[in-house]
Structure formats: structure tokens, C-alpha cells
């Protein structure tokens, strides 16, 4: 069966992509995707003043009742923190602010004066309390949650699954280069180009691969990057230091059963640095790691070529 050409549009401060197989499912799938994205944006954004997450951060120290969607998103973020041994931690919100990520990236100054702050480790999730019975959360005072490392992937999984269920078609959803595929894939599979920047021009250095289902995510320190006092900064925070991750890899791609798992692994790999390839191998996750010099290392059965 044939797939549509990718439909792309701006969403969540990045680019959303949709492909369906057969093409006739496109309009209905697009409707589902747009509804999911609108819901995630008003729920999980750290930059919208009317976002539910902003209210939670503002009420740190007190119990806050959550919508089902934000409860699920925070639950996923806490699980991911556990699954990555703390390498992907949602309590890095304050650290991201301290390194200058204070507004939607499209409105962030690419350069600026040196930071005059003392960076500290993220508070950690041990004291984040999630009350499943009353669907509420309490975060410690001085802590800010940031769901940037998981919410996009979570939304991609939700939207792809719902669109596939509603249309009965194969659906591939991409959010900022994090992909989730549900339903019957095209005969040849879903064609994916892994590269440093999901908005890169055709022919950007990378690799073409085919997937059938599940998630494929790529994280990179070369995008969503800025400079302060000449220092290169980016959005991947090492929770153990509160600083931008400083590892040997500039870009990591991982395939997993879901986009959330794939994205958790790519972010963790950038934080883990030299230990990343062994960790990914042990998890059985196919991965492609690109060093700062462009050299490529693969793990977990990622295809070479």
C-alpha cells in the first residue's frame, strides 16, 4: 500500500509531520493529530502562561489537582527518569532557566552575555509526589518541572495511536524529528532519514532506514543551541551537574517500541557520554551515535550502511 507525502506544519515550537497509508486516511488523521497537539501544548508547555504545567510549578510545595493528560505526562516523565537511572530528569526546569532557556526557543536570543549564576544539580524526583487516587501532584518548593524531554514523544505516541485507531490506517507522526508509527505500515516500511537536524535540507549527512512500527527518535546538541559569553549551550541538561551535557556525541538516534522510550534513550545517551553505547547495547536498543567529529558508532543491531 502507498503512503502519502509527509504533511508538515509548525507545532509545539517545532515541526509536526504526518504520513498515512493509505493516503485517503490523511484528513481524518490530521484532525486527530491537531487536536492532540493543541491539548498537549496548553497542558505541558513551560512557556505558555496559561499552561497547566506553569500553574503546577507556580504552586510548588502544595498539592495541585491535575487533568488526566498532565497527570499521564508527569507519570511518564517520572517513569523515564527511573528507567534512565536519573539521566533524564523532569526536575531540570530551573537548570534550563539558569542556562538561559527562558522562553520559546524561536524567541530566544542566539547570543548574549556570560551567565553569572551558580549551576547546581537538579533537585531530583525523589520528593515529587504523585497521588494516583486523587490525581494530583506536589513538587518541592524551589523545583520546576520541565517535560521537554518526554512530552513531544508522549504526544507523538498518543496521536499516532489514536489516528491509527480512528482511521484503521497506518500512521506515522513526527514531532521535531521524534517519530511514532502505529497501524499497518506501507509495504516497504516507513522511510526515515536520520540526521542532525530534522529541518535539515535534503541530502544532509545522515542515513536512510526503514521501520515498521514503534518509535524512532533523534536528539542532538547541535540544534536548540545558543551562546552566552562565548560558551556554547544547548537544551540537554545533565541532571547531576545542572549543566549542559558535555559528552562525545553530538547526535544520537534510537529505535524502540514507542517514541517515548526512543526519546528517553537518545536524551540519556547524550547525558551518559562515553558510557552511552554500552548502556544502549545492554538495553537492546538499536542506536546510532554521531561524534562531534562526524564519526558514527552503532549499537543494539542498528543497520550499518
Amino acid at each position: 500500500m502507498k503512503a502519502t507525502s509527509p504533511v508538515t506544519f509548525p507545532a509545539l515550537g517545532t515541526t509536526a509531520t504526518l504520513v498515512t497509508s493509505p493516503p485517503s486516511a490523511g484528513p481524518a488523521a490530521l484532525e486527530v493529530l491537531k487536536a492532540e497537539l493543541a491539548a498537549i501544548d496548553v497542558t505541558c508547555s513551560r512557556f505558555r502562561t496559561d499552561a497547566e504545567l506553569v500553574a503546577v510549578n507556580r504552586q510548588a510545595g502544595r498539592w495541585t489537582t491535575l487533568s488526566p493528560l498532565l497527570f499521564a505526562a508527569i507519570d511518564v516523565a517520572l517513569q523515564v527518569c527511573h528507567q534512565t537511572d536519573g539521566a533524564v530528569d523532569p526536575t531540570v526546569g530551573r537548570s534550563l532557566q539558569l542556562v538561559g532557556y527562558v522562553r520559546d526557543f524561536r524567541r530566544l536570543d542566539p547570543d548574549g552575555p556570560a551567565l553569572q549564576v551558580e549551576l547546581r544539580p537538579a533537585p531530583g524526583v525523589e520528593r515529587v509526589e504523585l497521588d494516583r487516587t486523587r490525581r494530583r501532584v506536589r513538587i518541592p518548593e524551589g523545583t520546576e518541572l520541565d517535560l521537554g524531554a518526554t512530552a513531544k514523544a508522549f504526544a507523538a505516541d498518543l496521536a499516532a495511536r489514536q489516528a491509527a485507531t480512528r482511521t484503521g490506517a497506518g500512521v506515522l507522526v513526527g514531532l521535531g524529528g521524534d517519530l511514532s508509527a502505529y497501524g499497518q505500515a506501507p509495504e516497504a516500511g516507513w522511510a526515515v532519514r536520520v540526521t542532525d537536524d530534522h529541518r535539515g535540507p535534503e541530502g544532509s549527512p545522515g542515513q536512510d532506514v526503514w521501520i515498521n512500527s514503534g518509535g524512532l527518535a533523534t536528539s542532538s546538541t547541535t540544534v536548540r543551541a545558543w551562546r552566552r559569553g562565548g560558551e556554547a549551550l544547548h537544551h540537554i541538561i545533565d541532571p547531576s551537574t545542572g549543566r549542559c551535557a558535555q559528552g562525545p556525541w553530538r547526535t544520537v538516534s534510537v529505535a524502540a517500541a514507542s517514541c517515548v522510550d526512543a526519546n528517553a534513550a537518545t536524551t540519556a545517551a547524550l547525558v551518559l557520554g562515553w558510557r552511552a553505547a554500552g548502556w544502549l547495547e545492554a538495553q537492546g536498543l538499536p542506536a546510532r551515535l554521531v561524534g562531534h567529529d562526524g564519526s558514527v558508532v552503532t549499537a543494539g543491531g542498528w543497520p550499518t550502511g
Binding site: C81, R134, R193, A257
Partner: protein
């Protein structure tokens, strides 16, 4: 009127016994409390009532944390392939980019 010596010794003995018994009670209560505290630290329990708030933390590092086991990250059912899954006469769909964002 003076009590006989035997009666006096009996009363003094009973008084000593009363004091000893009181100390035994005090020490027993104290020991039970200490033992309870030690055991509650060593063998933490959890709330039995389903309606009570059971805060969960991702690391499960404190009492009252979620006891559910968090599954590890799940590999895909099939690793990506470097070539199309099947040869087809249909033109391949243009690739979707997966890159940093």
C-alpha cells in the same frame, strides 16, 4: 504499738517487690517501643486502605513510594533496516526526517 519483727520484714519485702514490679513495667513498655521503632524502620509497610493517598516517586526511594515495578525501556519489535522491507513496484514514499529539534 510496735509491729513484730517478722511483720516488719514482710512489709519491707512487699515494698521492695512493688518497686521492682513498677520498674519491670516501665522497662517493658520502653523496650516494646524501641523494638517497634527499630522494626518499622527495618521492615516498612504500606497503607492497606485503597482510598488513602499513596504518593509515588519515580525512584521509589522512600517509604510510601509506589511499589509497582517500572518496566525498562522496550526495544522495537524489529530493528530498523537499511533497505526497504520488501521490493515493491510502487514508488517509495519520501523519507521523513528524524533529527534533533
Amino acid at each position: 504499738m510496735r509491729r513484730p519483727a517478722a511483720q516488719r520484714r514482710r512489709d519491707e519485702g512487699l515494698a521492695r517487690l512493688h518497686i521492682i514490679r513498677r520498674w519491670i513495667v516501665v522497662l517493658s513498655v520502653s523496650a516494646a517501643g524501641v523494638l517497634s521503632a527499630v522494626l518499622s524502620q527495618a521492615l516498612p509497610g504500606r497503607a492497606a486502605t485503597p482510598g488513602s493517598a499513596t504518593p509515588s516517586s519515580a525512584t521509589g526511594g522512600h517509604s510510601g513510594a509506589s511499589t509497582s515495578v517500572v518496566p525498562s525501556l522496550q526495544p522495537p519489535s524489529q530493528a530498523p533496516s537499511a533497505t526497504p522491507q520488501t521490493s515493491t513496484t510502487l514508488p517509495p514514499p519520501p523519507p521523513v526526517q528524524s533529527g534533533g529539534s
